[in-house]
């Protein structure tokens, strides 16, 4: 189809000017976009308030689809269980799976306790969740793996808080709106999390690979002690996550660590809990501007490396 003839400017000065203005505005738009892009790559949180407002608008719609999603998940589970051995079977299997994770976590807690008791005779209480909410959406078109939460500043959520499901770590709050928040999922390639093996103290960093798997890099290189099936839990280093929460299971061994599968898949969760920052003092100390670490620490949360980034680089 040919473009409408009305768009040919011909000798009409007015038409010529309007075509020219169109090109001019489009060019200005592209240039403005380039400037904004540079600004947001340089200062990732510069547009956080705008995004927060947009998130607040989208979140209610997300609540509906989230409810529908969990409903349909339950439905499919029920049908599948009926065809196998009755709906009890599915429930029991899920329970056993969670119990296995809990067992691995208990091992971790036990090791932690032993060490602490040996050192200081300290005890830790169970942390209380700041808020509980559904994951209402995610950035399904982008290369970044971010999710949206249905709670925000009004519920006491602040950037940096860890987000966990009943199975394990989901991610960390990146930006907050009034009633919504953005979560950096573990699978995002900018996410780094200090972990250790559940049964002993092999410490490592779990980095997102951008393809749904985590890359576990050992801190102490040498003979690789990891084996497929090893459970990695948070180590508590860096101050964001409390220690001993399940993160991932090693599925493949590499020379410097392994490739791990997530324990808590965001798409399969119903409700997630936003927990308080484990040791705010440690996080604040790392964020305070100091000369040697100044550059990396002063940048806002999106690029703002957890302490682990510093150590890993």
């Amino acid at each position: 189809m040919a473009p409408p003839s009305s768009r040919r400017s011909g000798f009409s000065k007015k038409a010529q000017f309007s075509v020219f203005t169109g090109y001019l505005l489009a060019g200005v738009g592209a240039l403005a976009g380039f400037g904004l892009l540079l600004l947001s790559l340089w200062q990732p949180s510069a547009f956080a308030p705008l995004r927060g407002a947009a998130g607040d608008v989208v979140a209610p719609a997300g609540e509906v689809t989230a409810a529908a999603r969990t409903g349909s998940n339950d439905l499919f589970d029920g049908v599948a269980a009926y065809f196998r051995a009755g709906s009890q079977n599915a429930a029991l299997r899920e329970e056993v799976e969670i119990a296995r994770i809990r067992l691995a976590e208990a091992e971790a807690v036990e090791a932690e306790n032993r060490r602490l008791m040996a050192l200081l005779e300290l005890r830790e209480g169970q942390t209380k969740a700041v808020a509980t909410a559904r994951l209402v959406g995610s950035t399904a078109t982008s290369g970044r793996r971010l999710a949206f939460l249905g709670v925000g500043r009004n519920d006491g959520v602040v950037p940096g808080m860890p987000v966990t499901s009943q199975r394990g770590v989901i991610g960390r709050v990146l930006e907050t709106g009034r009633n919504s928040a953005r979560v950096l999922l573990l699978t995002d390639s900018e996410s780094v999390l200090p972990v250790r093996r559940a049964k002993d103290d092999v410490v490592a960093f779990a980095e997102g690979r951008g393809n749904g798997l985590l890359r576990v890099r050992l801190v102490n290189l040498g003979i690789n002690p990891l084996k497929p099936g090893d459970m990695m839990v948070t180590s508590g280093a860096g101050g964001y996550y409390r220690p001993g929460v399940a993160v991932a299971v090693i599925s493949e061994i590499t020379p410097d660590g392994g490739i791990a599968r997530l324990v808590a898949e965001p798409s399969a969760t119903n409700f997630v809990a936003v927990e308080p920052i484990f040791e705010p003092a440690a996080v604040a100390a790392l964020k305070s501007p100091r000369e040697p670490l100044d550059e990396a620490d002063a940048t806002p949360p999106q690029a703002a490396p957890t302490p682990s980034d510093q150590a890993s680089e």
């Binding site: 189809m1 200005v28 403005a32 947001s40 407002a53 959406g137 971010l146 690979r209 951008g210």
Partner: protein
């Protein structure tokens, strides 16, 4: 009393021609609303493993632009892209830049090849979608690793293949847009 042989003889695809007119509000707003809806819909899916859904907002923009040349002004890519950036997870400004560039590029292509058909439109859209896919991955702020490219490949394929469907949907939206809904008293 005379029966009318054909009940629809006084109407066309946009409705009855007697006593009805198009609604300017609807005619002006439907393209923009549908593009914004295209930006919003993928957000409601939980994609924790890989970029899963084609950039629907951009593809709907392409479909409107190619199917109805001259309807969207040349600069429409900037504001619509800004809205897309707010929810897409890309750094703010990436869609403003890429959508504006796409609009200018299609304008130039149209000036060069004024007579176009469906296949050529699909080719243009496929080229634009593939380039957009690469550019968006590079601008996303995540390092572009071979793993990321492999898992994102289905997204590129889907964005190319979904164009004919989207164009049909946009065509029906266009009929809705131009339907004679307003009654002249």
């Amino acid at each position: 009393m005379m029966e009318r042989l054909n009940q629809r003889s006084r109407s066309d695809p946009y409705g009855s021609r007697i006593n009805r007119t198009q609604s300017p509000l609807r005619a002006g707003s439907v393209p923009y609303l549908s593009i914004m809806l295209g930006s919003l819909l993928p957000v409601l899916l939980i994609a924790d493993v890989m970029p899963l859904v084609p950039p629907l907002g951009f593809l709907v923009l392409l479909a409107w632009r190619l199917m109805r040349p001259g309807l969207l002004p040349l600069w429409a890519g900037a504001p619509l892209g800004a809205f897309d950036d707010l929810v897409s997870g890309q750094p703010f400004g990436s869609a403003v830049l890429l959508w504006s560039l796409a609009m200018i590029a299609i304008e130039l292509i149209e000036a060069r090849f004024p007579w176009r058909g469906f296949w050529q439109d699909w080719f243009t859209a496929a080229l634009a979608a593939a380039l957009y896919w690469v550019a968006a991955l590079m601008l996303s702020g995540a390092p572009v690793t071979p793993e990321l490219l492999v898992v994102a490949l289905p997204q590129a394929l889907l964005s190319v293949l979904i164009y004919p469907i989207l164009v049909r949907m946009v065509a029906s939206l266009d009929r809705f847009r131009l339907a004679r809904a307003r009654r002249i008293e």
